[in-house]
Each structure stands twice: as C-alpha cells, then as structure tokens.
Symmetry: C2
C-alpha cells in the first residue's frame, strides 16, 4: 500500500511537503510540486481517506438508512437528500439497517437520516447527542437532537375522505397496510371524518393488506364476496389500490361506477392509471430532511417536528368534486 511516505522518499522530500502538494497549499516550490506530482502518478498513489479523517476528525458526511426495497418512492427521497447534500458539499452514505449501527458513528458520519420502522426509539435516543443529530422520517419524536420530518398523513387523508363524503359516498371500506405510524394515521383520519359526518363504519369493512399490489388484489376478491359491497374503498397506498382495481375489473365490477377506489402516495402508476390519491412530495421530503440534519450539525437547536403537507389528486377512479 503506497502512502505519503513512499512518495516522499522517492521524490526526495518530506511527508509534510507531499501533504502540502496533495492539499494544494501554496507553500511549495513550483519545481518540487511538479516532481512530487509526477512521483504520485508513477506510484499510483491515492490518499488514504481513513488516515485523513482520523487526523482531521471530520468526515463531512451524512448517512441515510432504510430497509424497505419494495416501494419506488425511496428513490425519490434519496434523490432529494442527495441533491441537498451536494449543494452543501457534504457526502452521503446510504446503508441498510444491517450496517446502521456501524456507520452511525461520530467518526464516520456527522449525523443521519433514518427511515426504518424497525429501529426502536430507544436506540435512537441512545445514539443522538449534540455531536450526532438524527432526523427520523417515519415517526414523531420530540427529543433533543432528534428531529422528525414527516408527511402530514392525517390532514391529507382527512381532506380526501371529507371529499368523498361530500360526493355522497355512504358505504366506506378501508384497506390498510402493515402496522406502522403511516397506516395508523391514515386510518385515524378516515374514521375521524366518518364519525364527524355520522357515517357508520363496520369493523369488518377494515381489510388488512401489506402495501403490495398483490395484497390489494387478494383483499378485493374478499370484498367482492361481502354481503353489502361498499361503494368506496379507501386504500392506504396506491399499489394496493391498483391491485384492487385490477381484481374488480377482472370480475366485471366497474370502477368508479360500481365501486370507487382511491390510494395514497401518487406513484407513477397512480398517475398512469388515473387513480385518485394523495400526492406525497417525496423528493421534497428527502431534501428537507437533509436540510434539517445539516442545520442541526451546524448548531441549530430547533428540534420541533416538521410536518410536510400533501394534496389530494382527484382522478377517474372516484367521482370528482
């Protein structure tokens, strides 16, 4: 492994001079500089970042950890984070939960953004401190040095469901995703709005999916067997809505005439298929999460949760207000 010393020896200078050349300092004579550069080339020298980081004590790097590979919107979030970080000249390490602990290390990264419901609050509380701030995107925590950047699921889902009520839908069903804060919030908004409008909701009209299109398809088949078929199916995300619509149509049930269906997320598919949904600004979510993290790294003491709003997109799988 070629190091600064090897270069120094071969170029007949001291290690510090080589270091100065590498870092573009001005205190090096022109001829020396050229000689050192040539030797670096000859020897295929590459600086060892670990040595540098150890010495300087700063990596100017943040980390994003996630562990769900099933939904495309993660890529939009990454794009958002990535662009903000580039702007601020930080580097970004993305990792999956297996390595979260290892890279969540003050020596390695200056802070991290988490989107992984399997990481317990207690772990985050233990890790966070003023030298290692954390942003969480999947829950609300009000703890020093941890900031939540989350979508205001509740408000958006309320707007959607109230819209459906105004459209005179009466018999509602809900297709939930797996157990998570997102799902709870969406369902809470759904049932709150129905209650406020005195619309009864029977428990057996709650169907359990897991956010996949397949589960939407399967649940829709169940719904078709139910005695009082709902006239609107509110799904916790677009993939399930998509699966449900496919099942209905395959069985001659018209959407939205026989049953209206709506989703959440405004995925590419929802746009394509004209599914009524809630537009979640994922790119912005990532961008804002990165911004909040960098601000904390640079000293901000604002740890209040940041709620991101989203809008209902009325399309052709429901009536339109």
């Amino acid at each position: 492994m070629i190091g600064i010393k090897d270069v120094a020896k071969k170029a007949g200078v001291s290690p510090s001079t080589v270091s100065n050349v590498i870092n573009g300092r001005t205190n090096v004579g022109e001829k020396t500089k050229e000689r050192v550069q040539r030797v670096m080339q000859d020897l295929h020298y590459e600086p060892n970042i670990i040595g540098k980081t150890l010495k300087t004590g700063s990596s100017r790097t943040i980390m994003f950890s996630f562990s769900d590979f099933e939904r495309k919107f993660y890529l939009s979030i990454i794009r958002g984070i990535s662009e903000y970080v580039k702007l601020k000249d930080y580097d970004l390490i993305i990792c999956t939960n297996k390595s979260t602990d290892k890279f969540m290390n003050r020596a390695f990264t200056n802070g991290c953004i988490l989107l992984d419901r399997r990481t317990p609050d207690s772990f985050l509380i233990k890790k966070a401190n003023k030298n290692y701030p954390i942003v969480v995107m999947d829950r609300i925590m009000e703890v020093p040095n941890i900031k939540s950047v989350v979508v205001n699921n509740y408000a958006s889902e309320r707007a959607l469901v109230q819209g459906l009520v105004d459209l005179k839908y009466k018999n509602f069903a809900f297709l939930g995703g797996f157990e998570s804060e997102d799902n709870r919030e969406r369902f809470r908004a759904f049932s709150d709005v129905l209650k406020e409008n005195n619309i009864p909701f029977k428990k057996d009209h709650y169907y359990d999916g897991d956010y996949t299109g397949k589960s939407g398809y399967q649940m829709a088949r169940l719904i078709m067997l139910s005695e009082h078929r709902p006239d609107v199916l509110v799904c916790a995300n677009d993939e399930m809505a998509m699966g449900a619509i496919r099942a209905f149509r395959e069985n001659g049930i018209k959407v939205p005439e026989d049953i209206a269906v709506c989703g959440f997320d405004d995925t590419e598919t929802a746009k394509m298929m004209g599914i009524t949904t809630v537009d979640v600004p994922n790119y912005e979510r990532g961008y804002l999460a990165a911004q909040c993290l960098v601000e904390m790294i640079e000293g901000s003491k604002n740890f209040d949760p940041f709620l991101i709003n989203s809008n209902v997109k009325w399309r052709s799988t429901t009536l339109i207000p």
Copy 2:
C-alpha cells in the same frame, strides 16, 4: 470526544485492557471487565471506527454506486447486494456518483459495484487493481480486476422478437430509451431478428424515448399519426410500453387487437397490466454482482464477463405463442 484512553484512565487500567474488553477477548479478569464496562456506560463511550479501521487496515465493506433514481428496479438490485453481503458479513455503503470517487478508496472500502453509465471506462481502469476489484453492471469490460455482471439483453430480446415474428406480426416499430448499452443491445437484437426473417424495417419506425412512461405516451401519439401504423410496437422498457398503451387506449386503439405492445424488465406495473415483456432478474443481478465482487476481493482471478439470462413473459398486450 471520549476515547479508549479516557475510559482506561477512569477505570484505572491500560488502554489495551479496554481494547480487549471491547473486542471480547478472554484475557481480561472478570472484575476488571465489569469495571471497564461500567465506565464505558457512564462515559457513553463509543468506539471510533476510523481509528480501528486505520489500525487494522481492513473495513470489510463494499460499495455500490448508482445515480439513476427513476426506476424501481434499482431497489431490487440493492436488496440482492445487501443480502449477499449480509451473508458474508461484509458491510455495504451505497452512494451516488457525487461521492463515488471519495468512497472508492482502498482504505474505505474493499471493492465496489458500479451501475452508472456516466462513469467512464478510463476512470475504472485507473481505479481497479488487485487490492481494489470492481464489478460493473452496465457494460462489458474485459480488463483485469474488473468484472462485468450484465443481463444478456441481446439473447432475451431476440427471443421476444423472434416470438413476435412467429406470431406473424409484419410491421414492426421500436421505441428506444436513452442512449446506453442496454438500449443499443435491445435494438440490435430487434433489427438482427427482423433481418434474418427478411422483414423490412423502416428507419422512421424507430421512435426516441427516454425510458419514462411519459415519453412512451408522447411517442405513441406520434405513432398514431403515421401513415402505415405498425401492428406491433417493441419498447425498450416497460414504463414506455405502459405509457404507449395508455395513449393508444385513450384514442380507441385496441391493444393487442389493433396494435400489439411489449416492454422489457417485467416491472410490477407490467405484471399488473399484463404487458408482454422480458423478465430481468434484478434481485439476482445484485446478488451475483456482490458474489463476484467478494470472490475477487478474496483472490479470484476470474474476470470473464458474467451474462445473466432472462425470460420472455408472454401476456395479454400481444398475441401469445
């Protein structure tokens, strides 16, 4: 910043003893061990990985770099890499091309997997050596310490197009993605098969998309204006096929009766919509890429390109053999 020395001093032992405790060595007395552990807790000590890595010289970490956030299959690839890596007890850093150079450092990572057509061959050739092997997933390179793990686009697309020929389609159009090895290969297979079957192909039946659903939609509108409407549209990926199908159907053109459409990738959408396509095993691509990389890290000298086969999925947007 609390280090091993601080712990040692407070516990009244030497740094090496603390190190031994941290690393679970057996040469530490029970009482000393407990005392040290208590002090580590009290002081909120966390090992500095950079120091450790510098000393041991090995990070047991590989890197994956990509820079396209538009297509979901990247997540499947990441999942594949991630699972193999977990199996072998390596860690995985994912990064985007802004930071590729920084993390592509022998001190930081032991090798890397690249899927980013914007990285030039020359850069890879400069970086790769026996201590830093590289896997590329988007091109074929036959160079020591660089191994290509790529989908056999050519063979699969040939199978698809030959199938269409056998189904008696006569008037072919091709909807390409942006300029890339993938796109070139798919088109080459397409035109080779037509040539072999003496089916003429007019240049103006090549349409330029960019792999997005939107571009498929737009190009389909163009196709509808053309004098001799093709009876089959072969798209370089599913998203474009999906967009095209939507445009056709919105305009009363039936798929596959009036025009057949097929894609490439076998995305979730293609499954849902019943689009004829080529199934690219992305999870496996990732898994195999990681496997090849780890093998090289551990000394393998097999740098021959690894071609991954894929299969045609006949569905309802074309006739079925």
